[in-house]
């Protein structure tokens, strides 16, 4: 699989060709980032992994779109975000499967951890499906840190801050470990764990 990193806001139109496998890693930053991935040929596969770390007065807009134009294509998108301070995020994603795109699978996951009282998020996962032999689903969750997890870690001697840090790291690792390109993963790690 080939990997590509998007770390600046802007509009990105990516076409995945016949038999091509592409991974796109996006760091959601202050500003608007629009990513459109079009699966153009049979056997095309795309994996979009988004990470958002919102802080202070960030306003982050991340919009992803995967479009299946032909049959036998596959995609999956996972966006994980952690929100602090007064950050606001708008995470939208759409899976579009056109009429001819039969035997397609696509899954979209958007998960946000709210860590501060002032942070806000709007999550809009969408589907437009015009073929029947497909499997498509999306899921979105928004929640604060699970108190049970914090309790467990602090009961083992970690301070609350240390516990929170560890939980957040574990949360983001779920998507980080899917980045199979070491260089990109390192770059992203440096940015988000700074």
């Amino acid at each position: 699989m080939k990997w590509q990193l998007v770390d600046k806001p802007g509009k990105y139109n990516i076409k995945v060709k016949v038999g091509e496998e592409l991974g796109v890693v996006v760091i959601g930053k202050n500003g608007e980032t629009n990513i459109i991935v079009e699966l153009m040929g049979k056997g095309a596969r795309a994996c979009v992994l988004g990470v958002i770390v919102g802080k202070r007065k960030d306003k982050i807009i991340l919009d992803t779109k995967t479009v299946h134009k032909v049959a036998n294509t596959h995609a999956e998108t996972e966006v994980y975000g952690v929100m602090r301070g007064k950050a606001i995020a708008e995470v939208s994603g759409i899976i579009k499967i056109e009429k001819k795109a039969q035997r397609v699978t696509d899954f979209l996951t958007e998960k946000i951890l709210l860590l501060s009282d002032e942070a806000q998020v709007v999550v809009e996962p969408a589907l437009e499906i015009e073929a029947d032999e497909v499997r498509a689903s999306h899921a979105a969750t928004v929640a604060p840190i699970d108190k049970k997890q914090t309790f467990y870690l602090t009961s083992r001697g970690l301070s609350e801050i240390e516990a929170e840090k560890m939980i957040v790291r574990g949360f983001l690792e779920t998507v980080m470990k899917k980045i199979k390109d070491d260089k990109i993963r390192k770059l992203v790690g440096e940015e988000i764990y700074a």
């Binding site: 009429k99 009282d117 589907l127 029947d132 604060p144």
Partner: protein, 462 residues
């Protein structure tokens, strides 16, 4: 040569009666005539006129289904109910008659549902219920009557849950509404049998612009239901209803609508409930018919611990578009919402789920769960999901899932290996798919609905 216009066409089979209806198109004059014909007090006329101004200014929604073919100038906005033109049984489309037969609609109801009779002769069934309700202090009458008999209550609550300016069609309804129900349940009264819309006596049901207002006082309970799964025909192609419900502290309300309008109808409905502390509101909604339905039963969870649930089933067959969903706004702490939407698209039909979950700052401890499952039965059909989730508060939990798929090959094979034909197996699986919603419907609806689904499957299996 006899003038063969609309007035005489049906009269040929029936007594010719003098009919009253307003000219085509909407204007202040038309609104005044409507109010005068009803003998309404001035405050209601003023309400209508204000709404008309809002309607004229407001633009059409830029999302949802295709509303481009609606020509407001060509519609008739009022037909005197008691003189509504009588259709003859012969003119009812054969397919409708067949469906009645197949899903087992009782003979007595068929003519009413087909629009051949304007009133359901429900005295026998309704008579004793009416007495019981009266003794409990429950008010159940047409909205037209309520404006005259309960002006204080109507004035207090109308437009409080859905303001005139909410959207273009709510404004339209506020200007030209006619018919619809008014229900008032006093504190602590729990009505155990569902109140059916067509039990309202002395006024025809299923008008174009019905306005319904339901007020349920503290700790009271009621289940109101309307419609039926048998296909219904209407000459008026635009239906824009408004339903407002006030659920007070610890009260419990369920509102069931089963709609199967014929394929020429635009069905645009605004329904919303205001829910107070520890109150509970359940919308059970089945959308089976119409050319286009745009309907998003909503809740404002205003009081601490308020709960809202929308359970909906939508079937979009050939040339149909169901653009439906739900909206919930969590304003208070510890509020809970659950939205379950099941849709089936076949023969080129299109289902779109449109939803909004908003959790405002201060609504700590709130939980929301949305489950949207869509079945697409063939390559011609379409399914969309457009949910929006706005979270402005940290201590909440939001979960949203949606899946789109076709009927599982393994499941079909399994059932067929037990002797069910492919069509029967489809019917069983699809009915199983919508079961979580259907089981919350009153029994008669559930049975009809299952049979209707089996009928629809007949058309889908090649």
């Amino acid at each position: 040569m006899k003038k063969f216009d609309e007035d005489y066409k049906y009269g040929f089979y029936d007594k010719v009666r003098p009919k009253f209806k307003t000219k085509k198109g909407l204007s202040e004059a038309v609104v005044r005539v409507i109010s005068k014909k009803k003998g309404e007090p001035k405050w209601m006329l003023d309400y209508r006129l204000k709404a008309l101004k809002v309607f004229e200014k407001k633009s059409m929604p830029r999302w949802g289904g295709d509303l481009s073919k609606i020509d407001f100038e060509k519609l008739t906005y009022y037909v005197d109910p008691t003189e509504k033109k009588q259709k003859s049984w012969q003119e009812v489309p054969d397919k409708i008659k067949e469906t009645f037969e197949k899903i087992g609609v009782p003979e007595a109801e068929r003519k009413f549902l087909a629009g051949v009779e304007s009133q359901y002769d429900s005295e026998v069934v309704y008579g004793s219920l009416k007495k019981e309700l009266k003794s409990l202090g429950v008010m159940f009458m047409s909205m037209d009557e309520a404006v005259k008999k309960q002006p204080k209550l109507v004035k207090k609550y109308i437009g409080t849950v859905i303001p005139v300016g909410d959207n273009k069609f709510a404004a339209l309804n506020s200007a030209v509404w006619s018919g619809g129900s008014f229900v008032y349940v006093p504190s602590g009264v729990k009505i155990d049998k569902p109140l059916q819309a067509y039990f309202r006596i002395n006024s025809p049901s299923f008008g174009q612009f019905e306005r319904t207002l339901i007020i349920v006082e503290e700790e009271a309970e009621v289940h109101y239901s309307e419609g039926c799964s048998a296909p219904r025909f209407s000459d008026e192609s635009l239906h824009a209803a408004v339903v407002e419900i006030i659920v007070k502290k610890k009260a419990r309300v369920q509102y069931t609508t089963v709609q199967n309008w014929y394929k020429n109808i635009y069905n645009l409905v605004t329904k919303r409930a205001w829910v107070g502390e520890k109150g509970e509101m359940i919308w059970t909604d089945a959308n089976l018919g119409s050319k286009l339905t745009m309907k998003y039963p909503s809740f404002i969870l205003a009081g601490k611990g308020a709960r809202g649930e929308t359970l909906s089933v939508a079937v979009a067959n050939e040339a149909q578009h169901q653009d439906v969903g739900s909206k919930v706004i969590h304003l208070a702490e510890d509020t809970k919402s659950l939205i379950v939407s099941k849709s089936i698209s076949l023969n080129g039909g299109r289902n779109s789920y449109r939803g909004l979950v908003q959790i405002n700052k201060g609504a700590a401890g709130s939980k929301s769960k949305v489950i949207c499952d869509a079945l697409i039965l063939d390559a011609k059909s379409r399914s969309d999901t457009y949910p929006t989730n706005k979270i402005f508060e940290k201590k909440v939990s939001l979960e949203h899932e949606a899946t789109v798929s076709k009927v599982g090959e393994e499941q079909l094979f399994y059932l067929m290996s037990r002797g069910l034909s492919e069509q029967e197996a489809m019917g069983v699986i699809v009915n199983g798919f919508i079961e979580p919603v259907v089981k919350k419907l009153p029994m008669e609806y559930a049975v009809e609905m299952n049979r209707l689904i089996e009928l629809e499957m007949e058309g889908s299996v090649g």
